[in-house]
Symmetry: C2
Subunit: 554 residues, 2 copies
Amino acid sequence: MKLRVALAQVNPTVGDLVANAALVRTNFKTAQDAGAHIVVFPEMVLTGYPVEDLALRPSFQLASQRALTEIAGQLTGGCVAIVGYLDQVNGAPQNMVAVISDGQVTARYAKCHLPNYGVFDEFRNFVPGDQTLLVRIHGADIGIAICEDLWIDGGITAQLADRKPGLVIVPNGSPYERAKDDTRLALVTKRARQAKAPLVYVNMTGGQDDLVFDGDSIVVGADGAVIARAPQFEDGIAVVDIDVATKTSSPDVIISEDEVSVDRALIPGVAVRLDDREEIWNAIVVGLRDYVEKNGFRSVVVGLSGGIDSALVAALAVDALGAKRVNGVAMPSKYSSEHSISDAQAFADATGIHFRTVPIAPMVDAYMNNLVLKGVAEENLQARVRGTTLMGISNQEGHLVLATGNKSELAVGYSTLYGDAVGGFAPIKDIYKTDVWALSRWRNEIARARGEAEPIPVNSIEKEPSAELRPGQKDTDSLPDYLLLDRVLTAYVDDDQGSAALIAAGFDEALVRRVIAMVDKAEYKRRQYPPGPKVSKRAFGKDRRLPMTSRWAE
Amino acid sequence: MKLRVALAQVNPTVGDLVANAALVRTNFKTAQDAGAHIVVFPEMVLTGYPVEDLALRPSFQLASQRALTEIAGQLTGGCVAIVGYLDQVNGAPQNMVAVISDGQVTARYAKCHLPNYGVFDEFRNFVPGDQTLLVRIHGADIGIAICEDLWIDGGITAQLADRKPGLVIVPNGSPYERAKDDTRLALVTKRARQAKAPLVYVNMTGGQDDLVFDGDSIVVGADGAVIARAPQFEDGIAVVDIDVATKTSSPDVIISEDEVSVDRALIPGVAVRLDDREEIWNAIVVGLRDYVEKNGFRSVVVGLSGGIDSALVAALAVDALGAKRVNGVAMPSKYSSEHSISDAQAFADATGIHFRTVPIAPMVDAYMNNLVLKGVAEENLQARVRGTTLMGISNQEGHLVLATGNKSELAVGYSTLYGDAVGGFAPIKDIYKTDVWALSRWRNEIARARGEAEPIPVNSIEKEPSAELRPGQKDTDSLPDYLLLDRVLTAYVDDDQGSAALIAAGFDEALVRRVIAMVDKAEYKRRQYPPGPKVSKRAFGKDRRLPMTSRWAE
């Protein structure tokens, strides 16, 4: 039988039950109008995801239940909807999916495997389910699994496979990380083959705090071959006709026995994968845009130093929000080079953002005349005057401040608390310096290919990195060369290797000890840093939770 | 048989394997010299606790294993040691206890119930054990459980009870919260009765990031009656003679069959409980002292506004570190009242701390002349100039900055990011304003009782709270009366009640909606706030993890 399934790859907002219900309603209508027999929404679409400890609040559990009942009543007609929400079962929260048929909830499935590693805390927030669910719709015996259920070998999906489903449907809240699309496809393929049934994988899009959801919804056949694949990072609904065997099993719930067909089969779309740099760029743009908009800001402000980090952040903001919603501020000090202002100006000219200059000498002098500050204390003061200036502008005009630190700096603590670390969001906090250059070059290439002005001044890309907090300062005065530093950091931070493994891999011992000591010492600073989109395997923040007080010397 | 058991209520440091091993060695010697047959250390004493994601690093797992083997070899003689550490079993981390007898590890027990709520993330960090352990020592069949194992009804301690132990030993890493000693005693009593055996409960002391461990180690008889109880918050070793039945079971491991006796039974000590205010005071003092010392600081600096919050924080710092290690800075602005300086001066005079005045007008004027800042933006500017001033002094002189915000302010966001929120530690972040007053009055009473000068100026306690950021400003311009506010906050934050429950309980609906909206909006600010000792049932921070981006309206 040809079953027409709609994959609603949508972007819910955490806690906004009304808006999320509207999202479900609108997409249900679109699916129905397209002749879909079933429409599948992402994990917990009704509450948004992840809700973190909101899941533990009984008032929120009950509100989610009420919202489900209300929306169910509105989803009438022949199209069955698969809608994720937060339920309360025996007084405890569960990550649940409802099967809604003609205005009624006819079946429910609770997520059985709760991820509690990396950025996930689901064992903290939910009670696991322990049963498979098979629902017969139009004669097809359809099994449901939720996100992590799919990732566990020999778990609930193995039990589901044993029950011989005709189709497997999987709602997800699967956050982006570099190259995750490859892992995901391999997994979906493997599970479809194990279940000997086609599999529909639906993921959400959009940003939520440090997470970005990349969509990438997939339909594969029983042989694991890709039938359809939705674009990365784009909201929308994909309608796919799938060959499904009927009456393969003994279902738990029967919704309809009558088989269906489609008049004229749709050509399934298989979206082209983005290349690595475009994928990262889009992840940051989506994460940034949603953080700004879901938090009710209209615009952002960035300190433009003329350097590469702030230019990249501002370019990302322009792509996310448009130049008219981006404000750049140059804040030269007496140690600033001439090109620091001209390169900032060049960026503003190329992109058309709002731009102003606020020299910080008068403020710095006022502190210096009233306090005895030397060396690093004086360097940090300049960064803090800039932070206070940006926050003043933010408070007065309502822009969200973007922090411009990259992952290499954050890793080794090359940053000033309450200085350049000021802000509400840090777009490139999970991007190593070497990738900062690569992304900047890539964005300029795209501009050239489109016949547009290159946003990022070539001089910002090519000049030697400097914080310009004392005369002639260079990053290399304090840090190893970034090419080498980033390799050590990737091994230590992302791959969790210890010093012995790093030295055995051929890195210089003194370098390894120096870098690791810097990383370990900077834990407190990183905790105080604003959130930013997770891009790598192991981002600082929820992904990597280390004690602030620790004397462990790796 | 009378068995002599030493309870080593000690304060390990996370990650400092060498110092923690020395702590075990020293206390083992003391126990041995006192004729103890067994010495019991707290949970994970060798690594410190909680180690958070350090547990996941293979290099740390192996280092802990090596440290255990090394220390075991040094614990020779007739005294058996029960030592907690991090193990790696089949490549995975386990929260383990080793039984060490004459230089050898003779048995191991892995924690079976892993707490993953509130401040705990153990399901993330460890793989659970699944077996009871009974070890025969001097003919007594001794069962071991670790911390959370004890809290679960019908779990591993029920299995242990079924095996008829002669004695139950429980190493713990049980953090302080208000009135937890009562809960703990009730639990220990209940489990001893269930096991029909005496129970030895050993907890650590000291501060670790946001947690404070309060000791309160306990020995109860098989009838649940208290035999001995160690003081709260004090390090030390308690030696207790316990009547233990022998050969009650079939043990898993036999260390020694020969019964022992004690020449002359020791009189067990039952420490008097601290009253509620003294308990909280000590928790903060211990948490503050350890945060400063374990992080390698020598001294602290506090901005003294003349108000009650900063006076209380400075008084706590004096008790924790001594007046010579405390620096107070008055930073008057043009809106500061005369008493703001005189009250700060009075505090310095009464306590003998270092004190200086840095007027902020020149710095504020420099910003105001170069930026257009009005209203709240101007108010925040003053707080940020103070923050930058304190950080400058900190960077120049090496003091840790203490933030002075209380829980009421943090809850409703009555605080300036990068302003008064600046600092490395926030001693009273978990203390509501009404308790700020109560603790201040209590500390002055103690001083009077001791014939010492009252540290906290009466005027600071009695004046009306004001941020003094604009002429004639009062906290009540922006906030409800603190007495009422704190009651709403306790219900909403600590007791997790929703608006419906609060209104049903008789709170004014408009007030409830106003307060809850303020609390929900301030999540980002709270995330950026420095750590501070957990005192209440639900502290902000690890205890309560809510999305920054959320549109849930309670």
